[in-house]
């Protein structure tokens, strides 16, 4: 427990520093914030445009589709809020400065994974949470069990997202490549802005269970709508945990391959 609290304190200190750095330039922060909001708004406009000519998409109504997009935005934003440091990992590897993370008496994964939280994403969170509550309330009768499933699967989605980010870090060590890898991850994950049921087979199954984007991004919303059985919820959690463990193993493997070549 004391170890856990120690890491929480370290994380808090790193986060405060990161927030201070990000907010040094108010202009920069303001423009980024506006950009993030517009990106959200533009895809929403696109969704509503598509629904202006069609009643349903793969059986989903416009409200349900917006809810899927909001749930996606929520998971995506929380992941970006915590894991922004991953985007800066390449320079640590190329310069050899990763050595400094390794010699400190703490887990290096914590430093490179959550060592640079992004306050701009924190600014977007209240908007998404309010929109999720509002749109969720317009979905019709939602049972408390489904609400609980929704939260459990949101956390499961975050665990899978953590796994993906660890995988990118591992690739960063093995191949000194992070920039394209993280953007590929984001492009692939963006398929989860709409439910996987919309896509054709075999893409649907692949994106749901092999690359678990569906479980990560669309299952929480499906659970709230009562479209997932309890067994599927349990299976999703098991899949999320298995994926996370495999990603951790990939990280440990990569760490053993690190040669500190540039330092």
């Amino acid at each position: 427990m004391s170890m856990f609290m120690r890491y929480v304190r370290i994380w808090w200190m790193l986060t405060v520093s990161s927030f201070m750095i990000s907010l040094v330039s108010r202009f920069n922060a303001g423009v980024f914030f506006v950009g993030k909001f517009l990106r959200f708004l533009f895809f929403l406009i696109f969704l509503l445009t598509v629904f202006s000519r069609t009643e349903t998409l793969a059986g989903y109504t416009v409200n349900q589709m917006v809810f899927f997009y909001l749930s996606f935005s929520l998971v995506d934003t929380i992941a970006q809020l915590f894991f922004r440091e991953v985007y800066r990992f390449r320079s640590l590897i190329v310069s050899g400065d990763f050595d400094f993370a390794l010699i400190k008496p703490m887990n290096p994964l914590l430093r490179v994974l959550v060592g640079g939280a992004d306050p701009l994403d924190l600014g977007m969170l209240p908007l998404y949470i309010a929109a999720v509550i509002y749109t969720g309330g317009r979905l019709g009768d939602v049972s408390w069990v489904n609400v609980v499933f929704y939260f459990i699967l949101l956390i499961n989605g975050l665990i899978i997202s953590t796994g993906f980010h660890i995988l990118v870090l591992a690739l960063g060590i093995l191949a000194t490549e992070v920039d394209h890898a993280i953007m590929i991850f984001r492009d692939v994950v963006s398929m989860g802005r709409i439910p996987m049921d919309v896509y054709h087979e075999p893409l649907r199954t692949t994106m749901t269970f092999v690359i678990p984007v569906g479980v990560m991004m669309t299952f929480p919303a499906k659970a709230l709508m009562g479209l997932l059985s309890p067994w599927m919820v349990i299976f999703s959690i098991a899949l999320g945990l298995l994926f996370f463990v495999l990603c951790l193993k990939a990280w440990h493997y990569a760490l053993f391959q690190y040669s500190s070549a540039s330092s």
Binding site: S25, F27, N28, A29, G30, V31, F32, V34, G35, L38, R39, F42, I45, F46, T49, V50, S52, R53, T54, L57, A58, A175, T176, E177, D179, H180, A181, M183, I184, D187, V188, S190, M191, I194, V198, Y199, H200, L203
Partner: protein, 264 residues
């Protein structure tokens, strides 16, 4: 001329030095295409026609937009902002070459690689996905599409340079570029043809330079523009290009006066 050819050669070698990075760059472009392609394929399922587009026309638009996008918007000019901010621009100013020529040569190298690989990727994807494609048979329309493509490319080059030149006056060069990415993602028509938008939004898109990056060349190719609309598009595009060129010249000369090589 020899200098600029060497810059093109050097840039290509730079790309191929980091092979994993290069491969992932190409994978990323294919993934970007597939994400949009599969989304539209799914949306169009069960519809003979949507927003005035048949499945063939829409999938042609999406597939070809993946070729047009890196060709027009593939650039190295984003590095200029960082060169100014770090003071490293000085190293280029003292060299016996025009800086604009240097930037253009780097972009040509980027686009050459993009064209070579994009063509082969699209052929592979075509064989794998077998979409119904609309093939333009009119030589005149193909020629006009090419002209529109070059116009979009020049327009984007000056647009991107102008954003980088903000570095002369502010160290915050990434935030305006991020904002331009967000606008470009929506208003270039990379994700969808702009004419599916509501009339007011479509009107807004027409008044922006982004309209000429991807959407306009593709609409010309698809033969969905009347002669009058095409003429109007080319005229406005030329005005935008001339305007951005003039702005780039002014920003460069004023920027150099403000430049202090701070950081060097």
């Amino acid at each position: 001329m020899h200098t600029y050819l060497q810059i093109i050669k050097g840039t290509i070698e730079e790309y191929t030095t980091y092979r994993v990075s290069f491969i992932l760059w190409r994978v990323r472009l294919v993934v970007q295409l597939l994400v949009v392609y599969f989304m539209w394929w799914a949306i169009l399922a069960g519809h003979q026609e949507l927003f005035g587009y048949t499945q063939g026309a829409m999938l042609t638009y999406v597939l070809f937009s993946s070729f047009v996008r890196p060709f027009v918007m593939g650039t190295r000019t984003q590095e200029v902002g960082e060169l100014i901010r770090s003071g490293n621009l000085s190293n280029y100013l003292v060299r016996p070459m025009r800086f604009l020529g240097f930037c253009a040569s780097r972009d040509i190298a980027d686009k050459l690689l993009n064209v070579i690989f994009a063509v082969s990727e699209i052929i592979v994807l075509y064989v794998l996905l077998r979409p119904q494609l609309f093939i333009q048979t009119s030589a005149v329309v193909i020629l006009l599409s090419f002209v529109a493509l070059v116009m979009g490319m020049v327009l984007f080059f000056y647009f991107s340079l102008l954003i980088s030149y903000l570095g002369f006056w502010t160290p915050d060069v990434w935030a305006p570029r991020f904002l331009s990415f967000v606008f470009a993602e929506f208003f270039t028509g990379a994700l969808f043809p702009l004419d599916i938008l509501s009339a007011p939004l479509y009107l807004v898109s027409q008044s922006l330079p982004f309209y000429y990056f991807i959407y306009f060349p593709l609409k010309v190719y698809l033969g969905q523009l009347s002669s009058m609309a095409m003429l109007q598009g080319f005229l406005i595009g030329i005005v935008w290009t001339a305007g951005l060129w003039a702005l780039e010249r002014i920003a460069w000369s004023r920027g150099l006066r403000a430049y202090t090589a701070e950081g060097k």
